[in-house]
Every structure is written in C-alpha cells, then in structure tokens.
C-alpha cells in the first residue's frame, strides 16, 4: 500500500478517519493542534461530513464527543495535556458512564515545556479514570493504535486515552494505511439509563468499572502492544514506555547493547507481566517520558527487591524530555565531550511579531498604569503572554486559561486597585466568560482588556469562537454599556487609547475594553490567498 509521510498528529487523524470516525472535537493546543487540522483539511473527511469544527474549550469538546458516542457513532476528542485539566470533569465521569460508539481521547503531553506551563503526565489521568491508555512510539503505531483504540473502546464500552508527547506529535515519518472502515449508524445505547450518574446507579457503574480492571490488564497482554524482546546481557532489563523505546533502540544499536526489553504501549500494565520480565535480570531500568509513573509503582509490584533505576534515583533527569543522550548516560555509556556552543550565540526567545496589535495595546496600558506603579496586570495564555518578556515586561501572571479575569477579581477583592486583566479573544470564550460574570455580579472594580486579534494565534491561527461576538457576549453578561469600550490598537491611536485605559482604570466597577485588530499573520495569509486567487 502507498506510504504517506505524516506527523504523529496527522497519523492519528488519518487513523481515526480510516477507523470510521464520525466527529472530532477539540480546542487548539500545542502539540495536539495538527490532529484536528488534518481532519479539517482532509478531502475524505469533508466528503463524509465528519464533524471537525473547533470547540469553545476542552470540556465542551469532551462532552460533545461523549454525546456523539451516546448516539452510537465514533468520536475522538483531542487536547494538550493541560487541556485535560479543563475537560477532567467530563473525562473522569465518561469512565463511569462508559460509551456507546467508540470514544478515543487523544492527549498530547509536552515534557520540557516547549510550549506549555507545566509538564504533567496524562497517564495519571488515565489511571485515575481507570480506563485503558495507549502510548505509541512511532507514527505508524500512532496510526494503528488509534484504530485499535476505537476497537478497544467498543469492546469494553469505555473511553480510551491515546497519550502522545511533543516529539511524536511533531515528527514526520512514512505511514502505511490500512483499509477504510465505515462509520457507525446512529444507535441509542441498549440501556437508556447508562449515562445517568445519579448516586444509586453511579455506585453500580463504579462497581462495574472496578470489576473489569482485570480484563483490561489481560487485554494489555493479549493485544501484543506490551511485548518482551529477549536479550543476552541480563545485567540490566529495560522497561521502555512509549516513545522512550525509540531512544533505547538508537542507543542500543550504536553501542551494541543487548539487554532484554519490555516495550510498554498499553496500560494498565499487569503485575504478572512485570514480574515475569524482571526474573533473571540484575537491575531494572525504567524509561518513561514524563513522570516516573510506572517506576514509582514498581516497588509495590515487583515480588523481590530489585534495584530500580530511572528518574527517581537520578539515573535519568527527574524533569524534561528523554533523548538519545540522557538515555545513553543511563545505560552507563560515556560520550566523548561534544563541541561547545560559542559564547557569541545569544538566546533568541519567541517574540511578538512586528506590527502586532498586542504591542500597541500593551503600550497604551503601560503608559496608563505608569502613575500606579508595577504589579497589577494579570494575564492569560496566548501570544500576548509574550508581553511578559522584555522590552514590554507588561504582565504579572500567566497561570491557566481564563485565570486573568478571576485572579484580577481576587486581587481587587483584596484591595489592589486598579486590578487589570489582559486576555485574548479565544481564551475569553474558552474560559474567561464565567469569570466576567462573577465580576459583574459583584460589580468588582476591575479593568479587563480583551486583546482581540480575531484568531487563536499562538497555535497557528485557528478560528476563534469570539470573532464578532465579543460585544454581544459582554453586554449579555451584564457589562455596562458606557464601560464596554472599543480600542483600535494602532500606534497612531496611542494617545486616545491610553486615555481610554486611564479612564477605565479610574472606574470603580467592571470595565471591558475590546482592543480589536486582526492578527497580522492571519491577515497577511488571507491577503496572499486573495492574491493567488486573482492570479
């Protein structure tokens, strides 16, 4: 069959389409964004009318995915790791309700925090929800495990998590497709009370979930995704989870290592598999991307006292991504000293684009705040978070989606005046609206700037639910008309913009300033498209 060169993310999108997907639900987030984008652009998906519109946030995505599953069709929900925090309520309870049509939840973790606030390991969530977790090592496995995920989900009537990390999400390789499977028809659950988690039925559902854990463990053996590779050198036994298997293979091939390997790609991992594997090896080394989750559990699982090496005993770094170098060190192999980076090389952090509207917004805000002193600007997740860096040094917080408004509210409640929130348009409709309602209900003195570039910018310019809706939303929530202002963030309007902000900072109530100017990246992209359409 023909091979396609695909990103890990794209392989998942293709795998889902070929497995009979009827809808993908997601909010953009690095490194997960390209899964949904791939489906949005796929001709087959468009012809089949597969749902692929962005959702307002990960929770609405998770719930819509569960709803599609209720109706009998296959759904996939995609998010970055911190997005699962937002979706967690629905996610955990989906483990309780179970599913009807297959439901695969793809979570892309970002160890080393290339584009994230933390490096939490989503496998813990899978364990928490007591559902199967799949962890592919290659693009081909990502393709195949997506399909298997749907099979597994329909076999056990449970959602299945597919966990990937940045390096697989954003690395390309050839992928071979398998045959296309048709979508499910609409079909109600056999038990129309399956999704009602009132206490009495919920207790029964929970017992059911507990009772099938053994079966899930057995499946982790029979599926073949956790497999042992024999080795002649028994001084070490290597347990390699997900992507880390690749690094071990690389190091082993270069250094001629021949240890037995247990490749883990499916959880829950049964104790018997681990105990069987470690028999006859002197030392166990655990390689896992993210937190030392399996490593931590080993002490309670292994029957004898094995020496366990990994992230906990310093054999591998406790934080950050694995790579061929730190895995090589963990194998006890010395490297020749590498070349050094010359001192002349300076850091080049990401920056706001030249001509970006966020810059003019920050300039106006900065000057208006001058007389009050620093430390009053709560911000959020998006391109405008780069306002934290020089030369702007414009913000004092970036915590989670929507936290700007609510943190500013809390600070205002504490007596910090003025308190300012800076939030993007897409982030506002993701998680900012409810916080605004809190502030409006109490008439909390607070100045909110919605820096509206009419796109989800940091992730590459996806459609924003907020576009052309912000004024109506703010009015609907109850922001007073005279304190709902519009700013055009251009240098030539600096003076009037600064005065507008200063006026609202002085107001002892809720002010919302919408600083609206399209992202220059999306604007120039549509200009190019227009041009090429004309020629």
């Amino acid at each position: 069959m023909k091979e396609f060169v695909l990103l890990g993310d794209e392989a998942i999108g293709q795998g889902a389409l070929d497995a009979g997907l009827s809808g993908v639900y997601a909010y953009p987030g690095t490194p997960s964004t390209e899964i949904t984008e791939f489906i949005q652009k796929s001709k087959e998906a468009i012809e089949r009318n597969v749902h692929a519109q962005w959702s307002a946030n990960e929770k609405t995505a998770m719930e819509a995915g569960l709803g599609m599953s209720y109706a009998g069709k296959r759904a996939m929900v995609c998010m970055k790791h911190v997005g699962l925090n937002v979706a967690a309520d629905a996610f955990i309870n989906a483990g309780m309700t179970g599913v009807n049509g297959g439901l695969v939840v793809v979570v892309a973790d970002d160890p080393s925090m290339h584009s994230s606030q933390n490096e939490q390991d989503s496998r813990f969530y899978g364990k928490f929800a007591m559902i199967p977790v799949l962890e592919p090592a290659t693009q081909q496995e990502a393709y195949e495990m997506t399909r298997y995920g749907f099979d597994l989900s329909e076999k056990f009537a449970l959602p299945v998590m597919l966990r990937i990390t940045t390096r697989l999400a954003h690395s390309r390789s050839a992928v071979e497709r398998s045959e296309l499977r048709s979508e499910n028809e609409v079909k109600l659950p056999a038990d129309l009370k399956q999704f009602i988690l009132l206490p009495a039925p919920a207790r029964k559902k929970y017992k059911l979930l507990l009772s099938i854990q053994d079966k899930l463990e057995q499946e982790s053996i029979t599926s073949g995704l956790n497999r042992t590779e024999a080795g002649e050198d028994h001084s070490k036994g290597i347990i390699a989870c997900g992507l880390s298997y690749n690094y071990y293979q690389e190091v082993a091939a270069n250094a001629g290592l021949n240890y037995p390997v247990l490749k883990i790609s499916q959880y829950p991992v049964p104790a018997e598999l681990l105990n069987e594997f470690v028999k006859g090896v002197d030392q166990v080394v655990v390689l896992e991307e993210g937190a030392p989750m399996l490593e931590e559990s080993l002490t309670g699982i292994l029957e004898n006292n094995y020496q366990i090496g990994g992230r906990l005993n310093g054999l591998l770094p406790r934080d950050g991504e694995l790579d061929p170098l730190n895995v090589k060190k963990a194998m006890g192999i010395e490297s020749e000293p590498a070349r050094l980076i010359p001192d002349v090389v300076k850091n080049r952090p990401p920056a706001l684009c030249k001509g970006c509207g966020h810059i003019d917004m920050y300039n106006a805000l900065g000057e208006a705040l001058d007389s009050y002193g620093p430390g009053r600007v709560f911000s959020d997740i998006g391109c405008y978070t780069l306002g934290a860096l020089p030369p702007y040094n414009a913000i004092n917080s970036c915590v989670d989606m929507g936290a700007s408004i609510t943190m500013a509210k809390g600070a205002s409640d504490a007596g910090l005046r003025p308190a300012v929130a800076v939030i993007g348009d897409s982030t506002f409709t993701h998680s900012g609206m409810t916080g605004l309602l809190d502030a409006v209900v109490e008439q909390t003195p607070l100045t909110i700037i919605i820096s509206d570039n009419s796109t989800t910018g940091m992730t590459g310019g996806q459609q924003s639910h907020a576009t052309n809706r912000l004024f109506d939303i703010c009015r609907g929530i109850g922001v007073e008309e005279e304190h709902l202002r519009q700013m055009n963030p251009l240098r030539k309007h600096h003076e009037e913009n600064m005065v507008m902000v200063a006026d609202e900072l002085a107001y002892e109530g809720v002010s919302v300033i919408i600083a609206q100017r399209e992202c220059i990246q999306t604007a120039s992209r549509s200009l190019r498209k227009e041009k090429s359409a004309k020629s």
Partner: protein, 191 residues
C-alpha cells in the same frame, strides 16, 4: 546510507519548506525518513530547528544523538552555531551569511563568521544575494538547499521532483525558479 541533518533558523524563515523538499526527495528515493519539527510558541520569531534523518535502514529515534549530526544547514549564521554540540567530528556546517537581528544583544557579524570558520568543514554562502540575482528573495532557502545538496546523498533529480510535487500548484514558473535557485546554490559553493 545514513544522513542526520539539523536545519536551523528563526521562526518564520521557512526552514520547514527545506525540510519538506528533502523529506519528499528521500521518501521518493526509497529511503526511510524521520523529521522532528518545532511548532507552537518558538515559531514566533524564536530559534527553531528541525532534526531530519534519512537512511536506507529503519530509523529509531526522532531526535539526532549529540555529536553525530552530519550537517547543520542553517539559513541564519548565529543559529548555525547554536546546535554545534550535535555536530559530528567530520560534520559540515552550511549556512547563509544573512543575519536575522531581532534581539538587542545580537553579536557582531565578524565574530559569528570567525566562529563558523573555526569549524573544519564549513560553507558560508550569501544565499540572499544569489536569490536576489535570480529575481526573488523568497527562494534563498532553495539556494541554501542547493549549497547543501552535495552532502545530502540524494540525487538532484529527486530534489527537483520533490519541488515539482510541492510547488506544482503554484505554477510552472515558481517551480522553475526554485529549481534555478537549487542549481545556483549548488554552483555557488564551487566558486
């Protein structure tokens, strides 16, 4: 045959278009490919790199091990130096001389070139000047690809074929111009 290449540049400079051409040419030549990219935050004017691995046998790691990269191909001179720990002893640095100065403490050009010249196998090429002569700054990346092509182990016909596939929908002229840039880059380093 096995080539490990780091592509380097600044977010927005289009190193992924070079990666796409090499990647497609490699796959069309029947080789294995792995190519790790940077998406997300760094794309906003930050340092970006792509690890590109091609081989006639299966490739395990998506990342190139330290000290084993055959070539650093950079469209910006300071970025060429950032990944030196990855470069093998006999590895090549092929870089454009055109600086991209979007930070306050950007070093003096001469200091950068001095450091690059300390690397035994290096090529400094004014890709922008060559591209300008050909009539479009936009094709400087393909000039760089041309300058690096002799170290890729891929037939020029495969690179041309990949350009045809990738740029074909933009019209024959665009394809021809890109191929011209490739050839000019290839010739440029012979001078």
């Amino acid at each position: 045959m096995k080539k490990d290449i780091i592509l380097a540049g600044v977010g927005g400079q289009g190193i992924l278009s070079i990666a796409a051409v090499i990647g497609m040419a490699a796959v069309e030549s029947g080789l294995y490919l792995k190519q790790a990219e940077v998406h997300g935050m760094s794309q906003r004017g930050g340092a970006v790199q792509s690890h590109l691995r091609i081989s006639d046998s299966p490739i395990a790691s998506d990342l190139i091990p330290e000290g084993s990269c055959d070539m650093i191909l950079s469209v910006e001179p300071m970025e060429a130096l950032r990944y030196l720990p990855f470069l093998a002893k006999d590895g090549w640095v092929v870089t454009s001389t055109k600086t991209f100065e979007n930070i306050e403490d950007y070093p003096a050009e001469d200091e950068l070139f001095e450091q690059i010249r300390l690397i035994e196998n290096h090529v400094l090429i004014d890709a922008n000047a060559i591209a300008r002569e050909l009539g479009s700054q936009k094709i400087s990346n393909m000039v760089m690809l041309g300058a690096a092509s002799m170290h890729l182990g891929l037939g020029t016909e495969y690179l041309e074929g990949a350009m045809n596939t990738l740029f074909g929908r933009k019209g024959e002229e665009v394809v021809a111009l890109n191929i011209k840039a490739l050839m000019a880059g290839k010739e440029g380093i012979r001078i």
